[in-house]
């Protein structure tokens, strides 16, 4: 086991956001921002990524907890997934996020893992994680998108050289709830809509989010817009515990009588970003929330999907999940 000791890094444990921002600015791309590390340790132990310094953030009390703010709630980026799963206010108003957090990995990982960490984790493409010189790692090919490539888990939308997907379960819920990300750096604070926080390979093939070196995701804001709406979350994975989604759906509906007056449908693990179904949302506006609308929506949802050799199953899976979300399974 001694071989599995991570290579040396300098460890910094700031106790305030200001100190963390200073460190992040000083260390730049040499400073690895660490929340609970449930994704990071794999990279460091496997030596597929290395770092000179780690800025461990879990000692910053200001980044923990759920607060009511004007126009909604603000969740500290270091709030654990278990806290989000169980928080009474979230369960009452934004159950969608609690359901998504409760389906992440295993109990121990949810006890440690944070919302910010879950949103900022790297993709699970095993070629990339194995450390090959693929596009995402700075090389010039994709090993998953080859005739023999094992790409059962990979993208059916938005691929651009890289076919990896966004692994976060909570990301889909945050996008569906029109959330936004609060980002701090030495330059100050900026707030980015969740829908623009995640980036696909066409925009930047080397990273999953808009975060620049020196920037720290400090909080997630959820506006009251969808408080108490009708929610649906379902995640399909090979195993009930630990596994990442093959396809998942996070949906929110506002009703006017028995008609859908507005909705958000976000599908996970089909694209490098949470895949929002804007066309479907428009198409079902004013329709009854039933099997027929669901069937129609499912057909529309999968338009434009492009499969690889081993992930054709994602198309009927996604179609069915959209149908189930709308009719209410």
């Amino acid at each position: 086991m001694a071989k599995d000791m991570m290579p040396h890094f300098d460890l910094y444990q700031p106790d305030s956001v200001e100190a963390a921002v200073d460190l992040a600015a000083r260390l730049g791309s040499d400073g690895w921002l660490l929340a609970a590390g449930q994704d990071s340790y794999d990279w460091l132990k496997n030596r597929t990524k290395r770092t000179e310094a780690v800025i461990e953030l879990t000692g910053i009390a200001a980044l923990k907890g759920v607060r009511e703010v004007a126009g909604g709630i603000e969740i500290g980026a270091l709030t654990t997934l278990t806290e989000i799963e169980e928080h009474p206010l979230l369960r009452e108003k934004f159950l969608l996020l609690s359901l998504a957090a409760g389906r992440v990995a295993s109990p121990q990982i949810r006890n440690a893992g944070t919302l910010g960490g879950n949103l900022c984790q790297d993709t699970r493409c095993w070629y990339y994680r194995y450390g090959v010189d693929c596009y995402r790692a700075g090389g010039n090919m994709c090993y998953a998108d080859t005739p023999e490539g094992q790409n059962r888990e990979h993208a059916i939308f938005g691929a651009s050289r890289c076919v990896a997907v966004q692994p976060s379960d909570t990301a889909n819920a945050v996008v569906a709830l029109d959330g936004s990300m609060v980002i701090r750096s030495a330059k100050g604070e900026r707030v980015v809509p969740a829908s623009e926080f995640f980036v696909g390979p066409a925009l930047n093939i080397r990273r999953m989010t808009v975060l620049e070196p020196g920037e720290i995701l400090t909080a997630v804001r959820i506006p009251s817009t969808w408080a108490g709406a009708k929610f649906y979350f379902e995640k399909i994975a090979d195993r009930a515990a630990w596994d990442f989604a093959l396809v998942s759906i996070a949906a929110a509906f506002k009703m006017d009588g028995d008609r859908i007056s507005d909705s958000r449908l976000v599908v996970g693990a089909v694209e490098c970003v949470p895949h929002r179904l804007t066309a479907v949302e428009s198409a079902i506006k004013g329709s009854a929330k039933n099997e027929e609308t669901g069937t129609r929506a499912g057909k529309l949802a999968i338009e434009g999907a492009t499969t690889l050799n081993f992930n054709q199953f994602k198309i009927p899976l996604m179609e069915n999940l959209v149908r189930r979300a709308i009719r209410g399974a």
């Binding site: 000791m5 290579p7 910094y12 109990p107 121990q108 990982i109 006890n111």
Partner: protein, 224 residues
């Protein structure tokens, strides 16, 4: 050699405690590891750690290596590398080898410990991140006279472990569950224990053990 510092426990209360008792094989091994007195065990650790020697003096603001940890109700001083995981500290510096290291990737649950009464994978926890917190390992569950914890007793009665390697993690996860939910249903227990793998697949035996421990005897199932 500076690296030897990395394996020395500054205060080994475990040792003093053990003097009065007959020294079992397990305890002997634990003492050797804890004291770092035997060359072969030292080289085992140092071999792994040598590659991790800092290339330069610690930069201002980086952590102090000598820290106090609250483990099983005792405050223990220990020298911890910045990149060291709690599982490594527990097993190789504090001699608490009841916590098992298996996958070392947060994928199996053998290294499960409680931190502030909540389960964590100690292989995926930085020791420096738990300085101000209370760590409880399998060793910390024994009663004042060394008797088994009720969960352990129930596991014995229900023949829960098979090979036993995952058992310390299963026990800790079960104890944490019962702290939070003193009388879970079998289904709730199954969900709570879903972060602990058992390669013997003795899952139903473990669930029977938990049902016995919490007095939910109706949900014990010995059917095939």
């Amino acid at each position: 050699m500076a690296d030897f510092k990395g394996i020395q426990v500054v205060e080994t209360s475990e040792l003093r405690e053990g003097e009065a008792r007959r020294v079992s094989r397990r305890e002997f091994i634990k003492r050797v590891i804890a004291s770092g007195a035997v060359a072969s065990s030292a080289s085992f650790m140092v071999g792994g750690l040598a590659a991790c020697t800092p290339r330069r003096a610690a930069v201002a603001g980086s952590v102090e290596r000598l820290i106090s940890l609250n483990v099983n109700g005792q405050v223990r001083r220990v020298d911890v590398l910045p990149q060291e995981t709690l599982a490594m500290t527990l097993r190789y510096k504090l001699g608490l080898t009841g916590t098992k290291l298996s996958c070392d990737r947060a994928e199996c649950g053998a290294c499960t410990v409680m931190i502030d009464d909540v389960t964590h994978y100690s292989c995926s926890t930085l020791t420096h991140a738990v300085r101000a917190r209370k760590v409880v390992t399998i060793e910390g569950l024994r009663g004042p006279n060394g008797e088994l914890h009720p969960v352990q007793q129930a596991f014995v009665e229900e023949l829960s472990p098979q090979c036993g390697f995952c058992t310390p993690g299963q026990v800790v996860a079960a104890v944490a569950l019962l702290k939070k939910n003193p009388k879970p249903t079998r289904e709730e227990a199954r969900h709570a224990m879903s972060g602990n793998l058992c390669r013997c697949a003795a899952y139903d035996n473990y669930l029977n053990g938990i049902m016995r421990a919490c007095g939910n005897l109706a949900e014990i199932s010995h059917g095939v």
